[in-house]
Symmetry: C2
Subunit: 339 residues, 2 copies
Amino acid sequence: MIYGHGDDIHGHSRPIRYNFSSNVRQGVDHSGLMLHLWEDLTLLSNYPEPAPVSLEEKISEALGVKSNCVMVTNGATEAIYLAATLKIDARSAVLTPTFAEYADAAAAAGHEVRNMPSILSLSKDYDMAWICNPNNPTGRMIPAQEILEIADALPYTLMVVDQAYHRYTPFPAIEPHEAVLRNNVLLIYSMTKDYSVPGLRIGYAVGNPHIIARMRSGRMPWAMSTPALKAAHYLLDHEADYAMPLEDMLAQAQRLKQGLEEIGIKVEPSTTPFMLCELPDLADAYSLKQYLIDKADILIRAAGNMRPLDRPYFRVASIGAEADALLVKKIKEWMQYGR
Amino acid sequence: MIYGHGDDIHGHSRPIRYNFSSNVRQGVDHSGLMLHLWEDLTLLSNYPEPAPVSLEEKISEALGVKSNCVMVTNGATEAIYLAATLKIDARSAVLTPTFAEYADAAAAAGHEVRNMPSILSLSKDYDMAWICNPNNPTGRMIPAQEILEIADALPYTLMVVDQAYHRYTPFPAIEPHEAVLRNNVLLIYSMTKDYSVPGLRIGYAVGNPHIIARMRSGRMPWAMSTPALKAAHYLLDHEADYAMPLEDMLAQAQRLKQGLEEIGIKVEPSTTPFMLCELPDLADAYSLKQYLIDKADILIRAAGNMRPLDRPYFRVASIGAEADALLVKKIKEWMQYGR
């Protein structure tokens, strides 16, 4: 899906001042990284490594797995599309509501795709299962152990677990070594989300060497740019600078949730700073979204295109006390006068 | 092919001082572009456009075609890999010797691949023909009109013409409007080569809207990073700053050719500043390459892996009078004492 994602600030003529539509932590100071990139005069004039081998080595060391268990990709999205090509003539189950790219990538690879509200509906009839954990847009977290038990019970079903948001929840995700040991678990990670660099496209997949070798087999040279590779090395070397103040973020998100509930909005229980909301009386979140852009330079993520959600649904992420309070105020205004 | 390309400075422990192994013009001043990227504080923290629509519009305006005739890709290499997927169960003809990625992309898409020394051997038995024009590594240029006549005579053969080096030759390449009019001509371009930014991965394909729509159909969102998109816009807006001093480059390349011929090396006639060379007496260009790295911090492109070339072949590009003279001197040294 090209259009209809969050953070679609490119599509609006008015400048967006408060961006609740992105799940990625905002306000991170990238001046050190910018300086690091800027200092390298060969940044633009030297070819990148043909394959991002040195980055794969660094990531695998950090994860405590061998480097043939890691494939760096052009954003987590490329990892999703490559993962889909691991099975042909396949039946794919997508745990919904969720990020649209799993179903799109599976369909592009020719899979028959079924939406599934619960992981308990999975069966050996499916060749592949797609689980976003914690889930976008709900922030729901399935215990890692539960997914691994199902994986072990369904040895011919490849479980693709997108852990892009693993740093946005206090609950433990599946560990890389737990995936690498198995033949049917592939983890997807997003440096974009880990380090709040959505401008750069850096993701990776972690799995056992047989799966990773198959994903790498069609790899073209120079898929990653020199700035992306250099930035990724810097980010891994400066882990401490990017530590997420998750406790504070979740406390503030809890206050946002209460504020929204107080004005009659249903909010799904979330383990992350982002949450799925439902307007009362089947009201239209697309109309709310337009109102907030026009009246308050606020952007939210209308979620009606996240199957099987409908028009009353939207997603927001807490971005700070003051902005969150303004959001609640403006939504209340729309519910009273704007609709 | 991941390994064995030119500009493989990453694979060597010694620093490379003189890089003859890349076809891309060197010494270009990117300070304006760097400043432009640096000034944008949201460069890393804002998502790129989901699809590079505004860049496709700008390129198509510059080329004088409609925007649905242009697809921006993650480097020209991605355009090559996407082009290969346009035909299934296909027979592909690759005009050789040439860049390895055409055969690799065609093979990855399941094509039966044949090497072909001359465009005159093309026939309707082939579903796809791959022509690099001007050609890497030889610098040979097939007249645009000749390719178009063959395309018109073979309406069911898709001619993929990689014009990545069109700015490196004085001879006219196929014009975008000539491709767009036809059902079976797809042009590939490389901003990397046009503007000497190998660190960034920006290419595009130009063809009629039916072909481009099929290439775009499997496109994933956010394939291009924010820095790459922003840089591409800047480069198109500052065309004059990147004008190539081609006449001087070719005159100097002619002197390099003479110097190499004087020491007994056979040099293929080239219309570009890069050229394909053959050592006498079946000498080994890989051994020469290692010698030049070890003794003079010089990098050349051994070309033995460019089918159907063999070990005596290598490619160099002229990089300036002084460096070129040193290259000839060091090769002569190796031929006399080093082998």
